[in-house]
């Protein structure tokens, strides 16, 4: 049974030790259990592409061309005979043999304010505590890889930083480290005016102050900042991962000269370097107005970048041990409003998956001919979480968290994995 770091006073430096060291035990039950899982899971990694606001399933994975709500676009055939996607996704169409589309999502939240968090936390039954985002859960369950790089990194627009709230009841140490505009958080790297020796001297002093500060406070309050600092140490050694000036022009072109293209390219580097969980967050998909011109602009950028990283992960062999997911918090209404927009639609929408444990080249579920309702078995996000855990080798039906003595299931206990999506 897994338990939580709240019950253990641990050093983040130890936490960032190798999986082998973790497996050797000696650090309490939490690590034995997690290390066992990690070993079982192998060196699994995750690429999680978050399209914030809600990508339209009708302009992407589940087109209904030439129907009442189908919109202006055509559908195109893919590398999987009989499977079609929107014409806005010609590159992903060529990668369909690597993808698994689930077209039968039916979730509950119609609003961003609740939907964004609940979808990313797996919307379990209310136990009075906030569940971790998927990235934090994986950071906790699998820990960092042997690379010692931070286990949960987010690439996003705007400001970066450490986001503790992602971790929910797991505690702030399992939060995300966000790279704003593809750059590491400010002041994370050693200032160029400092020599390495000077820097080490400062670090030693910092640790003294940290210990003194921590003595009077709960461990969880100090762990996050220590964790961020430790993370920085490793990242300092691996700045090649995210230095965009070193990215080959050919790759930049292939991934597309867009924000999501650049972030996806850095994500590839991070996965290759061993970051356990990389989330690429793209914003601006909430197309209540001018939906079709917006998707004509946005989807091709996603398409190019997503197809390119799938191709590269497959070529390097990483796809075999990397779970890839692309999704939003919901889809968009079939009905087209007076501003040529589509509103929020959790009733029938799609996600795309690929990689380890996922059945490649398949479509799970179906919506009706107008795209209004799921006409096969409908799947809520809890089932999707179970599916992801199983794809990563984590038996989410048997294992549970233990939070302050309270057992908590990894995912919604009344739901099960989508078997058709798993190998």
């Amino acid at each position: 049974m897994l338990c939580t770091p709240f019950e253990h006073t641990i050093s983040r430096r130890h936490f960032l030790g190798t999986a082998g060291a973790l497996a050797a035990g000696g650090l309490g039950g939490i690590f034995s259990a997690r290390a066992a899982e990690a070993l079982k899971a192998g060196n699994k990694q995750v690429l999680f592409v978050w399209l914030d606001g809600g990508m339209s399933q009708l302009e992407s994975w589940d087109p209904k061309p030439n129907t009442l709500f189908g919109g202006p676009f055509r559908s195109i055939p893919t590398s999987v005979p009989g499977t079609h996607v929107s014409e806005l996704m010609p590159h992903c169409a060529k990668q369909m043999h690597r993808l698994c589309l689930v077209r039968s999502l039916c979730t509950k939240d119609r609003d961003h304010s609740s939907g964004v968090a609940r979808i990313q936390r797996g919307d379990p039954k209310n136990r009075g505590v906030p569940y971790p985002f998927f990235g934090s859960a994986i950071a906790y369950l699998l820990g960092p890889t042997s690379s010692n790089l931070p286990p949960y990194v987010v690439l996003k627009e705007g400001r970066g930083g450490f986001r503790a709230e992602d971790a929910g009841f797991l505690g702030p140490t399992f939060g995300s480290l966000a790279f704003g505009d593809g750059k590491p958080p400010e002041d994370l790297l050693r200032n160029a005016s400092l020599t390495e020796a000077e820097d080490q001297e400062r670090n030693a002093l910092r640790e003294v102050f940290n210990r003194r500060y921590a003595q009077a406070r709960r461990p969880s309050l100090t762990e996050a900042s220590t964790h961020a600092f430790d993370t920085a140490q490793e990242l300092m050694r691996r700045s090649d991962i995210f230095d965009t000036s070193r990215l080959p022009e050919k790759d930049k072109e292939r991934y597309g000269r867009s924000e999501i293209g650049l972030h996806m390219l850095i994500a590839r580097n991070m996965l290759e370097a061993g970051v356990r969980f990389v989330k690429v967050a793209s914003f601006g998909w909430d197309t209540h107005g001018d939906n079709f011109n917006a998707h004509a602009s946005l989807v091709p950028k996603f398409d190019r970048a997503f197809a390119a990283i799938l191709e590269d992960l497959a070529a390097s062999g990483l796809l075999q041990r990397t779970l890839v997911v692309a999704m939003s918090e919901f889809g968009r209404t079939p009905r087209i409003n007076g501003h040529a927009g589509r509103d929020h639609w959790p009733d029938a929408w799609s996600i795309a998956m690929a990689g380890c444990g996922v059945r490649a080249g398949c479509v799970v579920g179906a919506t009706d001919k107008l795209g209004v309702s799921v006409e096969s078995t409908a799947h809520d996000i809890g089932s999707v979480f179970h599916t992801w855990y199983h794809a990563l080798g984590i038996d989410s039906l048997s294992h549970e968290y233990k939070h302050k003595g309270q057992p908590l299931p990894l995912a919604h206990e009344e739901m099960t994995p989508i078997k058709e999506a798993l190998t």
């Binding site: 107005g289 917006a294 007076g338």
Partner: protein, 389 residues
């Protein structure tokens, strides 16, 4: 035009609202004014005959004495008969033009022949004889473009049709045969276009809001007019504000209509009309109306008396019809009652206009169902207005 005709109307009074069964992008009266055509989201061009009220025959005066009694003196007073009210305007729907795919977003009418041109979002361009009860297809090109045809227009002499699309091509077609005459490739998706009334040139604008001038023979771009206020890069979304191009003042002035976008996603945008001196490309003035909630100038039609009727899209539930005089900064008439206006067209006689709007409550994150449990599409009511001085 008589002196009476040059008097500007002060307002438009809504006479009737006609329900339709689909959402409409663009409505146009035929040059003779008998038929209204609409480019529709259900991959059709819908047609209606406009039935105008006829002066009614005076009703027989039942209180009047019979002829035989006229000679006899009568003591009863004779009340004058009230004429019955004239029958209201009606739109009688004709068979739609079908066979399109995706959406039909644009129609154009031949200036002196009964030909209608229409294009769909899957690349088909067609010519129809649409004035007959049973419309006939003159010609069809199912692959005029690779995908979404954004706009078409007919040359002033009626000999050519021009089309533009998401595929970045601008193509010239022979209006009678549908034969491709010439084409030019642009570097961006092309959104709007218009023929110059006399100069043998046309203009087109792209997703970035830049306007390009092209000669017809040879068919090539000769100059560009920059209009950066029509464009916004919101995160990675290219938001194009320029939606319509028109010429006025016999071609001396180019009107660029649309909006200055301020956000992506929701797409908030302030309606904007830029008047450009065509010969020099110099901006004469820029008029912004309202707030970013007022949306795009999705359509405009010009009245020879010197004003424009403009359809403002608005955020869901908003939108309005406005009249704008050339050179003025504010509309002299504004009707906020129609929701999410899509198109506006004057009747050729100039005393009527039609607005294609959107039904109320067209937006929302819920799943509204009709009484019989159906999830229904929105529709566009057609609103008939009379201009009044």
């Amino acid at each position: 035009m008589s002196s009476q005709d040059t008097v500007l109307p002060s307002k438009a009074v809504q006479l009737r609202s006609f329900d339709t069964a689909c959402q409409i992008f663009q409505a146009r009266f035929t040059p003779c004014g008998t038929t209204l055509l609409a480019a529709c989201m259900d991959a059709s061009v819908r047609r209606w005959t406009l039935l105008e009220p006829q002066p009614a025959e005076p009703a027989p005066d039942l209180l009047a004495p019979p002829e035989s009694a006229k000679s006899a003196p009568s003591t009863k007073p004779v009340r004058p008969a009230k004429p019955p009210p004239p029958p209201p305007y009606e739109l009688r729907e004709l068979e739609p033009l079908t066979g399109f795919r995706g959406w039909v977003q644009t129609v154009a009418l031949h200036p002196n022949k009964p030909a209608t041109f229409a294009a769909d979002t899957w690349g088909k361009l067609e010519s129809w004889n649409s004035l007959e009860q049973k419309a006939r297809r003159n010609w069809s090109n199912p692959e005029a473009h690779d995908g979404w045809i954004r706009q078409i227009a007919v040359s002033p002499d009626g000999s050519k049709v021009v089309s533009c699309g998401l595929d970045q091509w601008v193509r010239l077609w022979d209006a009678d045969s549908g034969r491709k005459i010439a084409e030019l490739q642009h570097s961006q998706p092309v959104y709007a276009l218009a023929f110059h009334p006399s100069a043998g040139e046309l203009v087109f604008s792209d997703v970035r809001g830049d306007i390009h001038v092209a000669t017809l023979a040879p068919f090539k771009t000769v100059r560009a007019i920059s209009s950066p206020d029509f464009f916004l890069l919101a995160r990675m979304q290219e938001v194009s504000g320029l939606r319509q191009l028109r010429f006025s003042d016999q071609g001396a002035t180019l009107l660029a209509a649309g909006a200055k976008p301020s956000t992506g996603g929701f797409v908030e945008a302030t309606p904007m009309l830029v008047r450009i001196e065509f010969s020099s490309g110099k901006v004469l003035d820029t008029v912004k109306i309202g707030t970013p909630k007022d949306g795009f100038m999705l359509d405009l039609d010009s009245d020879p008396r010197g004003f424009h009727a403009v359809a403002l899209s608005g955020q869901p539930g908003a939108g309005r019809l406005v009249f704008l005089k050339a050179g003025d900064k504010e509309p002299f008439f504004s009707d906020p009652s129609p929701a999410n206006c899509q198109s506006v067209t004057f009747h050729p006689r100039g005393n009527l206009l039609v607005v294609a709007a959107t039904n109320k409550n067209s937006s929302g994150n819920g799943k509204p169902l009709s009484k019989d449990g159906a999830y229904e599409a929105n529709t566009s009511p057609l609103l008939l207005y009379r201009l009044e001085v």
